[in-house]
C-alpha cells in the first residue's frame, strides 16, 4: 500500500530538519522515521538504502531520500523527496546568512568564530586520520596519501585530477591483476 504524498512529504521534511551533522549521523534519524514511526521500510531495508546512498556520488542524505522514496512510492515521489529533504537546510542557512550578513564583526560572534575555526581544522584533521586508519599498516597507502597531499599543497593541481587518478589507479590495478589471474 502506497502512503499518501502528504504523509511522506512531511516525513522527509522532518528528517531534513532533524539530521544534525549530516551523513552517517543521519542513519538513526532515518530508521526512527521510516521504520519505527511509519513502518514503510524494515530496518534492514533502511540499512541497505543507506549503504547504497553512501556508495554512489553525491549527498548521502539526499541520495538516501531518493532511493527510499523510490522504494516506498515510485519516481515522482523520489524527485519530491530530494527537494523536501534538502529544504529545511536550505531555508535555515538562508535565514542565517541573511541575519549574519551585518554581524560577522560583532564582538560575541567574532569571539565564537575565533574558537570555532581551530575546532573545524581539528575536525578535518580527525576525518583525515579516520580515513587513514585502515591504511596505516600499508606503506603503499601511506606513500600514495603523502603524494596526494604533497601535490595538492604544492599547488600543482586541484583535487579533481587527484581524485580521478586515485580511482583510475585502483581500477587499473584491478584490471591488471585480473588479467594475470586469467593467464596463470
Amino acid at each position: 500500500m502506497k502512503p499518501a504524498p502528504g504523509e511522506w512529504i512531511w516525513s522527509y521534511l522532518r528528517i531534513g530538519a532533524s539530521a544534525f551533522g549530516g551523513g552517517v549521523a543521519a542513519l538513526p534519524v532515518f530508521v526512527a522515521e521510516l521504520s519505527d514511526r511509519r513502518r514503510w521500510l524494515t530496518p534492514s531495508e533502511v540499512a541497505e538504502a543507506f549503504a547504497i546512498a553512501q556508495s554512489i556520488p553525491g549527498v548521502i542524505i539526499v541520495n538516501f531520500a531518493v532511493f527510499s522514496a523510490l522504494r516506498i512510492s515510485g519516481r515522482r515521489a523520489a524527485v519530491l523527496a530530494a527537494v523536501t529533504v534538502a529544504m529545511p537546510a536550505f531555508l535555515i542557512i538562508l535565514a542565517l546568512a541573511t541575519v549574519a550578513a551585518g554581524h560577522w564583526e560583532h564582538r560575541w560572534v567574532a569571539g565564537a568564530l575565533s574558537g570555532l575555526r581551530p575546532a573545524v581544522v581539528a575536525l578535518v584533521a580527525a576525518a583525515a586520520l579516520r580515513l587513514a586508519r585502515p591504511g596505516l599498516r600499508s606503506p603503499l597507502f601511506l606513500a600514495a596519501a603523502g603524494l596526494s597531499a604533497a601535490v595538492m599543497l604544492a599547488g600543482w593541481t586541484g583535487p579533481v585530477p587527484l581524485i580521478l587518478a586515485g580511482a583510475g589507479v585502483g581500477l587499473g590495478w584491478h584490471v591488471i591483476a585480473r588479467r594475470r589471474k586469467v593467464r596463470t
Partner: protein
C-alpha cells in the same frame, strides 16, 4: 557562462566526484570555492562550523551559503540544486541497478584507489585551513587557537566525541577568551 550557471556547474561537479559524503566532499568544496574567490578560507571554516551545528546535509548547507554569498537567493538555489542533482539523477536512472554497482569488483577497486588520494587531500585541506588561522605577520596561530585545535582533535579521535558538543565548547571558549 552566467554566474548562476557556473555556481550550478561547480557544485554539480563537486558532488559528482564525491563518494561517501560527509567530509569526503570538503577538500573539493574548499578548493573550488576558494580558487574562484567565492569564500575566503576563514569564512569557509565559519560555514563548516555552522553546517555541523544546523540540521540537514553539510553539503547542502555549504552550497546554499556559498551560493548566497556569491549571487544571492538565486545563487543559493543554483548551487543547492547542483549539489543535490548528481546522486538523484544516478538513482533515478539506475534505480535498483545501483544496488548491484556496489558489489562490482571493479567499483570496489576504484574505491580502494580513491581512499589514499582522499586521505591525502583531506590532510592537505586541514593544513591549508590551519595556515589560514595564522594571523598576519605572525609565524604560528595564537596559543588559544592551538590549544583548542589539540583538545578537539584529541577528543574527536581518542574519545570519539561527536562534533556538535565539541563545537559548542569551542565557541564558548572563544567567547570567554574574547571577553577576558
Amino acid at each position: 557562462m552566467t554566474l548562476y550557471l557556473r555556481l550550478f556547474w561547480v557544485f554539480f561537479k563537486i558532488s559528482l566526484l564525491s563518494v561517501g559524503g560527509g567530509y569526503n566532499m570538503v577538500p573539493l568544496m574548499q578548493y573550488e570555492v576558494e580558487a574562484r574567490g567565492w569564500l575566503p578560507p576563514g569564512r569557509f571554516m565559519d560555514m563548516m562550523a555552522i553546517s555541523e551545528a544546523t540540521p540537514g546535509p553539510i553539503a547542502v548547507n555549504l552550497a546554499t551559503f556559498a551560493g548566497y554569498q556569491t549571487a544571492g537567493l538565486s545563487g543559493a538555489a543554483a548551487a543547492t540544486i547542483g549539489v543535490c542533482l548528481p546522486g538523484a539523477l544516478l538513482l533515478l536512472t539506475l534505480g535498483i541497478l545501483a544496488v548491484r554497482l556496489r558489489d562490482k569488483p571493479a567499483f570496489r577497486a576504484a574505491m580502494r584507489g580513491l581512499a589514499p588520494a582522499l586521505t591525502g587531500l583531506l590532510a592537505a585541506t586541514g593544513i591549508r585551513l590551519g595556515a589560514a588561522l595564522i594571523p598576519e605577520g605572525a609565524a604560528t596561530p595564537s596559543l588559544p587557537a592551538m590549544l583548542i585545535f589539540a583538545t578537539v582533535l584529541g577528543l574527536a579521535v581518542g574519545k570519539k566525541i561527536l562534533p556538535l558538543p565539541l563545537l559548542a565548547a569551542a565557541a564558548a571558549a572563544g567567547i570567554a577568551l574574547s571577553l577576558a
